[in-house]
Amino acid sequence: MKVLCGIGGSDDSFRALDRTVERAAVANDDLTVAVVDNEDSSVAPDDVMERAQEAVDDAGIDADVRRVGGDPGSRLVEIAETEGFEEIVLGGGHTSPMGKITIGSIAEFVLLNAKTSVTLVR
């Protein structure tokens, strides 16, 4: 399957990265990792790129890791549409001190606007 995994450096995005890479190695997915600007993230995009490339190398798969500027949600939806991706994978949200799950703003936008299936990794 042709999979687009969007990550911005939040904890849940790294969880999504690891699970997607793991799955791609088993299922032979055609994977692209898009590193987007997440203004709520404390990790710089260059470090996120490095982390993603490491995960891909460690798994021994041939995935494309690319930097995607601009508004993250709309860019992911646009890339999925123009390049024929079948699924978008994103982090499944952050947990408050209380234990409440809050879905990030990028995931909200993608869920409502994508034509493909969207997977949120918990």
Binding site: D40, H94, T95, S96, P97, M98, G99, K100, I101, T102, I103, S105, E108
Partner: protein
């Protein structure tokens, strides 16, 4: 995480628990701070184990006794404030304040057999009275926007919406003036009473 907003004005004074009242079904309900006893803990587990999954909010309370116990252990810690609504030796509802960096997150749960009887209002007032007495300054919460009953309860209490751009509304309340003594006392002209 983004900065949360809070009302300028400090909320009304809430009465400090323990308090007692008769609910709309004629049951005597007592609201008091959580006492860290085995009986109290097990009564809470029992309430959440019987909690209607349709009343879950953003993943809590979790399902299954094991996860319920793990979750309770996290929110019944020494740095958290918890208030229980008792009906005899059964728990009708529970409200909690859990700290993060600069404020406290609030959540409230009323068991389905005790809903729509006015217990939620007494319970949240009891929790906020307890928090006020303990010197807590700022409280925030999130609520699913379709949960109108909860949203109107929070508004009635004095919560103001601080973020309406997500699936959930975020609301804030100021319980005590800021520690630096530069509160908003005597401020005029920026009250926004709207009782429609």
């Amino acid at each position: 995480m983004s900065d949360r907003g809070y009302p300028e004005a400090v909320a009304n004074e809430f009465s400090t628990p323990p308090t007692a009242f008769t609910d709309r079904e004629g049951r005597t309900i007592e609201v008091r701070p959580y006492e860290n006893t085995d009986e109290g803990y097990e009564a809470l587990v029992e309430m959440y184990d019987a909690f209607d999954p349709a009343d879950r909010a953003q993943g809590i309370p979790p399902g299954g006794e094991k996860r319920i116990r793990e979750w309770l252990d996290a929110i019944l810690g020494d740095d958290c404030l918890n208030v229980i609504a008792w009906c005899g030796d059964e728990i009708a509802g529970h409200a909690t304040l859990v700290p993060d960096d600069e404020a406290y997150e609030l959540a409230i749960f009323v068991h389905q057999e005790y809903q729509r009887a006015g217990i939620g209002t007494h319970l949240i007032r009891g929790l906020l009275g307890y928090g006020q007495a303990e010197g807590i300054q700022k409280v925030w919460l999130t609520v699913e926007r379709w949960n109108r009953a909860a949203v109107s309860l929070y508004k009635k209490i004095g919560f103001e919406t601080s973020n309406a751009e997500s699936f959930e509304l975020e609301m804030g309340l100021r319980l005590n003036p800021d520690g630096d003594g530069d509160g908003n006392a005597g401020g005029d002209g920026d009250e926004d009473e709207d009782d429609q």
